[in-house]
């Protein structure tokens, strides 16, 4: 319907009954005061605990020399590489696997529904217990469960998972995937369930194979959800210090630190808070473009995770 058609359609109605909309927009006197009073609690919290610390942080990290100092520090360069690997691998592996698994869990079988209940357990666990268990499972000395399993089943000798930065990083990545993949599987499962069945039936009638149905019907419909989920997962992965802190502990000798945990060490262990803030702000510089792109792709209803 064009604008003129719409205007024509509306006119008889608006002629008989005055439209209430314009007068509603304005708040008068005491109503306005009340509405302000209702927002004040949250506004106060927001200013006191978000705006002020944020401004304080920007001020602490405003000295350009800090960033030169960061770049000169090999620990920072290693943490930057680790962060890129952590985010790049953890996010993409968990999203692709979650997408594929959502197809498996979409099958209408009773036992698959029961399996889903078990499968989402890692997501429901609080982070600390989950990652503590991972740590304990992997420590080679004293012996952890994984090494015992490997030697019992395949006769493989203990692997010192945390003695090398790269395997330690891999352990952190696996732990992160273990914890978060169930959530994204559920999200994609929800997306698949929302695809109208008649579209899939139509594809079947047209003789589409499973692969064609996935590639030409399911995937285009899930594309936006996949993109938005990937962006959110990316932002979370950038800020996820828990696996690094609890699983590998950042060791050996800072070799598996990521930027968010390194900033913390600068501030609290090396008593150099401005440098820690600078390290965190350098992450924020990467996050802001992602967040802005995310906002532009997002209709608010989609955030109901």
């Amino acid at each position: 319907m064009s604008v003129t058609q719409e205007a024509v359609a509306v006119r008889p109605v608006s002629a008989s009954a005055p439209r209430p909309q314009p007068s509603r927009r304005h708040l008068h006197g005491s109503d306005f005061t009340w509405s302000i009073a209702f927002v004040v609690p949250y506004a106060a919290l927001f200013v006191a605990f978000v705006i002020y610390p944020m401004g304080y942080g920007l001020w602490m990290g405003s000295d350009p020399a800090l960033y030169g100092e960061l770049l000169a520090d090999p620990r920072y360069r290693r943490a930057a590489v680790n962060t890129a690997l952590f985010v790049g691998l953890a996010v993409n592996v968990q999203m692709v696997l979650a997408l594929l698994l959502s197809g498996f869990f979409a099958r209408r079988r009773r036992w698959i529904k029961m399996l889903l209940v078990v499968f989402i357990l890692p997501w429901t666990l609080p982070a600390v217990p989950a990652y503590l268990s991972f740590h304990w499972m992997l420590v080679a000395y004293p012996q952890g469960l994984l090494d015992n399993l490997l030697s019992a089943l395949f006769g493989i000798e203990s692997v010192f998972w945390f003695h090398d930065g790269w395997t330690a990083l891999a352990c952190n990545i696996v732990a992160h995937i273990w914890k978060w993949m169930p959530l994204w599987t559920l999200v994609f499962l929800g997306g698949r369930m929302a695809i109208p069945q008649d579209l899939l039936d139509a594809a079947d009638i047209d003789g589409a194979s499973r692969h064609q149905r996935f590639a030409y019907v399911v995937m285009p419909l899930l594309a936006n959800l996949y993109l938005v989920s990937t962006l959110i997962a990316t932002i979370w992965a950038f800020g996820d210090y828990s696996p690094v802190y609890f699983v590998s502990g950042g060791g050996p000798a800072f070799a598996s630190e990521v930027l968010s945990t390194l900033g913390y060490h600068y501030a609290l262990d090396f008593a150099n808070p401005p440098l820690g803030v600078a390290a965190n702000l350098s992450v924020l510089a990467l996050l802001i473009p992602v967040a802005v792109f995310l906002m532009s792709r997002l209709k608010a209803r989609e955030v109901l995770l």
């Binding site: 605990f49 600390v128 997306g191 929302a194 936006n224 992450v283 924020l284 955030v303």
Partner: protein, 296 residues
């Protein structure tokens, strides 16, 4: 044409059967892999919790040869030095969780009432600011946050944790409440106002009762948020009186001679409430997840 399809039928049917068999076998294999992947770390928690030693005594066991519930019963009696404070710590965690739940529902409903029902602002302002907080990782904010808490004199104070958690749980709460409130006709508010109800009465008598399901969802979210958070609790709480379970676990972890069986027993107990909540509400969580759906 019919002759052609007739001659092809039998081969097509066996092919179909083989394909189906392959899919079934594949499904079962995948299920086994998924079970192992999911359950090994969880099994490990029980393995360690049921181990009688705990104090760094190690064997090559992949199953508990002398399983004992000692770690759990010691928690219950709280007579062992390591776990003497465990129940006060649980009480602190529960207390913080409940206060965060209540305050998030209160602060969030007030703000969403003013913005949505009284038309104070526009949709995009709240959704944008809510999303902004939703996506900023707490690790980025934490260092200046600690400084600011020093300035406020709120270090080692449970209210600092509560304030922080309410601040970070509320934007999402406002978002949910805002969109749920759109289901309730504004004419209800207007009718009440014409009948002489004050703003506060509309909020208390109309808005809150009608929003009960959304408030329950938001409260649950805030409770789980507070329960799963350890970062703010660990950073802000230091004295023994204020320690929560999450902080206690972290302190065990930092201890070289940590009693791992107690640690895992506490971990299991600490994991039970969120798991129970998730499974009690899983139908609603599933529908919440699908609400986002593919419409975008």
């Amino acid at each position: 044409m019919s002759a052609v399809s007739f001659s092809e039928r039998p081969r097509g049917r066996t092919q179909h059967r083989v394909q189906r068999l392959l899919i079934e076998t594949g499904s079962i294999l995948l299920a086994v892999v998924l079970l192992i992947w999911t359950l090994v770390p969880i099994y490990n928690m029980f393995l360690v919790a049921l181990d009688p030693g705990g104090h760094n005594e190690f064997t090559d066991e992949i199953y508990p040869s002398q399983p004992t519930l000692a770690a759990f019963t010691d928690l219950w009696t709280a007579e062992v030095e390591d776990v003497r404070d465990i129940w006060p710590e649980f009480a602190n965690s529960i207390w913080i969780g409940l206060v965060v739940m209540t305050l998030t529902a209160l602060v969030g409903s007030l703000a969403s009432f003013a913005i949505g029902r009284m038309r104070l602002g526009r949709d995009w302002t709240i959704t944008t600011s809510a999303l902004l907080i939703y996506v900023i990782p707490s690790s980025v904010l934490i260092i200046p946050f600690l400084r600011v808490m020093h300035i406020y004199g709120l270090m080692d104070n449970p209210w600092a944790v509560i304030a922080a958690e309410v601040t970070f749980a509320t934007p999402y709460a406002i978002l949910i409440l805002h969109y749920y409130a759109k289901l309730i006709p504004l004419e209800l508010d207007d009718a009440a106002r014409i009948d002489g109800a004050s703003v506060v009465q509309v909020y208390l008598r109309i808005y809150l009762p009608l929003m009960a399901p959304a408030l329950a969802a938001v409260g649950t979210y805030a409770l789980l948020f507070a329960w799963n958070d350890y970062f703010y609790q660990y950073m802000l709480l230091s004295s023994e009186d204020n320690t929560t379970v999450a902080v206690a676990l972290e302190q065990f972890f930092d201890d070289d001679d940590a009693p791992w069986n107690y640690m895992m027993a506490i971990s299991i107990l600490y994991s039970l409430p969120p798991i129970a909540i998730f499974f009690a509400l899983r139908r609603y969580i599933a529908s919440g997840l699908t609400a986002g759906g593919i419409k975008g």
